[in-house]
C-alpha cells in the first residue's frame, strides 16, 4: 500500500495532502477537503453526479484516483460563483427551473461548462449529446437543456465585442 503527497489546485486555491493510492479523487475532494458540492450517485461510473473539470476536461471524479490529480488544475461546482455573483449556468438552472432535488446539478453544470467552452453556441442536439453522461432522475432533461441554452446566450453576450470594434469582413 503506497501513500503519496499530492498538491492540487482546486478553484484557484492550492491544496496539499497525503493520500493512500486507493483513495478516489471524489472522496478526497468531498470527505477530506470538505468541498461537498461534488456528489456521488453511483458505483458504476454511470451517473455523472461527480463530474468536475481536471485540466479543463470533464471528468467523473469517482473514476480517477486522487494521486492521479497530483499537479493538476481542478474546478468543482464551488468554483462557478464569482464573489456573490452567480455563474450564467447557475443563473440558467435557477431561471429555467432545471432542478428539483438538485443531486445531479453540480455534475450537469460542470459538464455543460466544458461543453460551452468548446462549443459556445451548441444546438439542442449537441447539448443533449453533451450531457448524455449525466443522469437526472427527477427534473427530466427539457429544462436542463433550456438552462444550458440560457447560459450559452448569456456567456456569448458577455463576450460580445462592442459594435464597431470588430474588423470588417
Amino acid at each position: 500500500m503506497s501513500t503519496h503527497h499530492i498538491s492540487v489546485t482546486i478553484n484557484g486555491t492550492p491544496y496539499e495532502g497525503d493520500v493512500e493510492a486507493r483513495i478516489l479523487l471524489v472522496h478526497w475532494i468531498c470527505d477530506t477537503l470538505r468541498l461537498t458540492g461534488t456528489h456521488i450517485g453511483c458505483d458504476t461510473t454511470s451517473c455523472g453526479a461527480c463530474t468536475i473539470l481536471v485540466d479543463g476536461k470533464a471528468t467523473k471524479s469517482c473514476t480517477m484516483f486522487a494521486v492521479q490529480a497530483n499537479g493538476r488544475q481542478i474546478m468543482t461546482v464551488e468554483g462557478l460563483e464569482q464573489g456573490d455573483k452567480l455563474h450564467p449556468l447557475q443563473e440558467g438552472f435557477h431561471e429555467e427551473h432545471a432542478l428539483q432535488c438538485g443531486y445531479c446539478t453540480p455534475g450537469m453544470m460542470m459538464t455543460s461548462l466544458a461543453l460551452l467552452r468548446r462549443n459556445p453556441n451548441p444546438t439542442e442536439h449537441e447539448i443533449r449529446v453533451g450531457i448524455s453522461g449525466n443522469l437526472c432522475r427527477c427534473t427530466g432533461y427539457v429544462n436542463i437543456v433550456k438552462a444550458v441554452q440560457y447560459a450559452a446566450e448569456k456567456m456569448q453576450a458577455a463576450e460580445q465585442v462592442p459594435v464597431g470594434a470588430e474588423g470588417g469582413e
Partner: protein, 292 residues
C-alpha cells in the same frame, strides 16, 4: 466501494513503464484511462497489487497517417477520435465506433489502446479493428513486435497475446484505398451502455465492382470479440448486392454465441447481429462507392 490496497507507480516514459512491468510482472497492471479498470477495482472484481500509471506519457497520444497507414497511439483518448478531422474525413468507421463508446465524459479519459487491451467482448473497438484488419504494436524489454488483431485476441475472454511485461503502444490501420469503405452499427438500450449487439464491416471493391477484401467484426455476441470469417469469405470475388449482403449476414449471425441476459434473450441478439451486419455492409458499400 474502495478498491483493495495497492501500490501506485507513475511511469514518466515508455521505457520506464516497461521496466516497471518487467520488475513487477504478473502483480502489476497498466493504468490507462482507468474507465474499465477502476470500476472493476471498485467492485473488487480486479485487485492488482501494483498499478503503473501511463497517463502522463504524452508521446503515446497521437493520430497520424503516414505511408498508407493510420497510426493511433495507445493512449489516444476516445474524445480525440471524436474530434479529429482526419478521422471524420477518412475513417468514418472509427468515428462511428468512438462516438458509441460509453458517454462523452468517460471518453475524455478512455483510451483506444485500453479499449483493445482490455479484450472485453462488450467493448466496441475490437469488432471494428477485426473488420479493418488492424495491427497491434506491443513493446517489451526485448523490443517491439507487431501482431495482427486476430492473433492479439485469444479464445479466452479478457485475455490477449500481450506478455505480462509488454505494453500495447500503437494500433495500425490500413489507410483507405480506392473503392473502400466501412461502418459500425451498435444497438444499445441507452447512451453509455454496452452493446446489445454490434457489427462492423469494412470492404474493398476491385475495378470491376467485385469484393476484394471483406472484414466483419461483432460486439458482445460471444465470450470474445468475433471475426465472422465465413461471412467475410462468402463475399469475396462477387458484387456486393443485396443477396450477397443477406447471405453474409446469415453467416455472421451463425457465428455468434450470445447469452440471454438483461440486454435480451439470445435469439433476439442473434437476430440483431444479422440486422446490424446488413446495415453495416450497406453503409460500407455506400461509403465505398461515394454514396456518402
Amino acid at each position: 466501494m474502495f478498491p483493495v490496497t495497492f501500490d501506485y507507480l507513475e511511469a514518466r516514459n515508455l521505457d520506464e513503464a516497461i521496466a516497471l512491468l518487467e520488475q513487477h510482472g504478473g502483480d502489476a497492471k497498466i493504468l490507462a484511462g482507468g474507465q474499465s479498470l477502476i470500476p472493476l477495482m471498485r467492485f473488487r472484481i480486479a485487485g492488482p497489487t501494483i498499478l503503473i500509471d501511463i497517463n502522463r506519457i504524452d508521446s503515446l497520444e497521437y493520430i497520424q497517417e503516414t505511408d498508407g497507414t493510420l497510426h493511433i497511439g495507445a493512449l489516444t483518448r476516445e474524445a480525440e477520435l471524436d474530434n479529429s478531422a482526419l478521422i471524420r474525413n477518412r475513417y468514418p468507421i472509427l468515428l462511428d465506433t468512438s462516438s458509441m463508446v460509453a458517454d462523452p465524459i468517460v471518453r475524455n479519459w478512455a483510451t483506444v489502446g485500453g479499449n483493445i487491451a482490455h479484450a472485453d467482448p462488450a467493448n466496441d473497438h475490437p469488432a471494428t479493428m477485426l473488420a479493418l484488419g488492424a495491427r497491434i504494436v506491443a513493446r517489451g524489454p526485448a523490443g517491439e513486435r507487431v501482431l495482427s488483431i486476430d492473433e492479439f485476441f485469444t479464445d479466452a475472454p479478457f485475455e490477449t497475446a500481450l506478455a505480462p511485461n509488454e505494453v500495447l503502444t500503437e494500433i495500425r490501420i490500413p489507410a483507405p484505398v480506392e473503392r473502400s469503405g466501412g461502418a459500425y452499427f451498435k444497438l444499445e438500450r441507452k447512451v453509455g451502455d454496452y452493446a446489445i449487439a454490434g457489427a462492423a464491416a469494412y470492404i474493398v471493391l476491385d475495378a470491376g465492382g467485385n469484393v476484394s477484401y471483406a472484414g466483419i467484426g461483432l460486439t458482445n455476441l460471444a465470450q470474445v470479440p468475433i471475426k465472422a470469417r465465413n461471412a467475410e469469405q462468402s463475399l469475396l470475388g462477387k458484387p456486393l448486392d443485396d443477396a450477397a449482403i443477406h447471405a453474409a449476414a446469415d453467416l455472421a449471425a451463425a457465428a455468434t454465441q450470445p447469452t440471454s441476459d438483461t440486454r435480451g434473450p439470445a435469439d433476439y441478439k442473434r437476430a440483431m447481429a444479422r440486422t446490424l451486419t446488413v446495415r453495416a455492409l450497406r453503409k460500407a458499400l455506400a461509403r465505398a462507392t461515394g454514396g456518402e
